[in-house]
Symmetry: C2
Subunit: 170 residues, 2 copies
Amino acid sequence: MAELHSAQSHGGESLLFLTDEQLRQGIEAMFFAYRGFTADPDLILQELSYGRAHHRAIHFISCAQGTTVNNLLAILGVTKQSLNRVLRTLIADGLVESRVGRMDKRERHLFLTDAGLALEQRLSDAQRSRMRAAFRQVGPEAVAGFRKVLEAMMDTEMQRQYRALREGRG
Amino acid sequence: MAELHSAQSHGGESLLFLTDEQLRQGIEAMFFAYRGFTADPDLILQELSYGRAHHRAIHFISCAQGTTVNNLLAILGVTKQSLNRVLRTLIADGLVESRVGRMDKRERHLFLTDAGLALEQRLSDAQRSRMRAAFRQVGPEAVAGFRKVLEAMMDTEMQRQYRALREGRG
DNA sequence: CTTGGAATGTCAACAAGGCTGACTTAAAGT
DNA sequence: ACTTTAAGTCAGCCTTGTTGACATTCCAAG
């Protein structure tokens, strides 16, 4: 695999030798941190009687205004029925607008309305402020390591999507 | 809101200045990585018609054999009714044993049976192997950073629990 | 000793949000 | 003209969260 050449290196075998205990700590850290990660937006969503599914839809529509339903489906990794339920309420509540495609009239392009943008801001402010605090606390080196590990934990397909989103914004 | 002070400067201070774009990438990385993180055990669970809730219960019982239901509740952060449903099936399937407390007969102490331990091994092998691969790929410095950021993203209460688990094992 | 309150756990019912399957409509592609 | 693709809809299921009601046990104050 890719770790043949990680065998080298200095004094101890800290690079190659990972105890189950170290890995277990990593697993538990992910569990607790993910809870923290979603805690703040969850509070806002609850008062609007939305759920995380709505948040995810809003987030990714805002990343890629005008994206199609099919595209969103691939990113979110859920079925169209599942997404549709959420999308329907967001459209009914005037947070998302669905426009028929100009080139291909089968497609629907999704946009956040002003109200949708406002909610997106509110949600991601909450989420970002926790992440900003964490990032500041630990410094840029730790942040770089954090990002490296997370990327390495994704599937190839997820990495592709993740990078596509990043490049889509420059 | 909270970003009043993120408005300042674009100069050199990478430590203090975090663009919304950098934070957004962190958020998306968490989203995709968490999917990867749970993907492997999810496959095993599916073939046994269990869900993530079962996995979590098994994981934390295995960390602290003999823990009480109440204790588990605090760690998992769900209602006792929700946990109970999962626990009931695990007990019925002979993976978990519930013993009435000797001191306080209101308490139930939870233990993994041999079958439970076997499943725990299988699940965490799957999860660990992805994490091990990721950790090896990026090296120990990145791993340290990863852990720092995750800890910083937890609530104080979660940090307490996370550290308690770690110390409970030495 | 008894009795009331707190702690612990169980049962029942409901909601959110995943899932599958079957079907329709409209627009492209061939 | 026929097939494929994009999207939406309806129905029904499962997991896993929630609340409310209830039983048991313990403990402490009267």
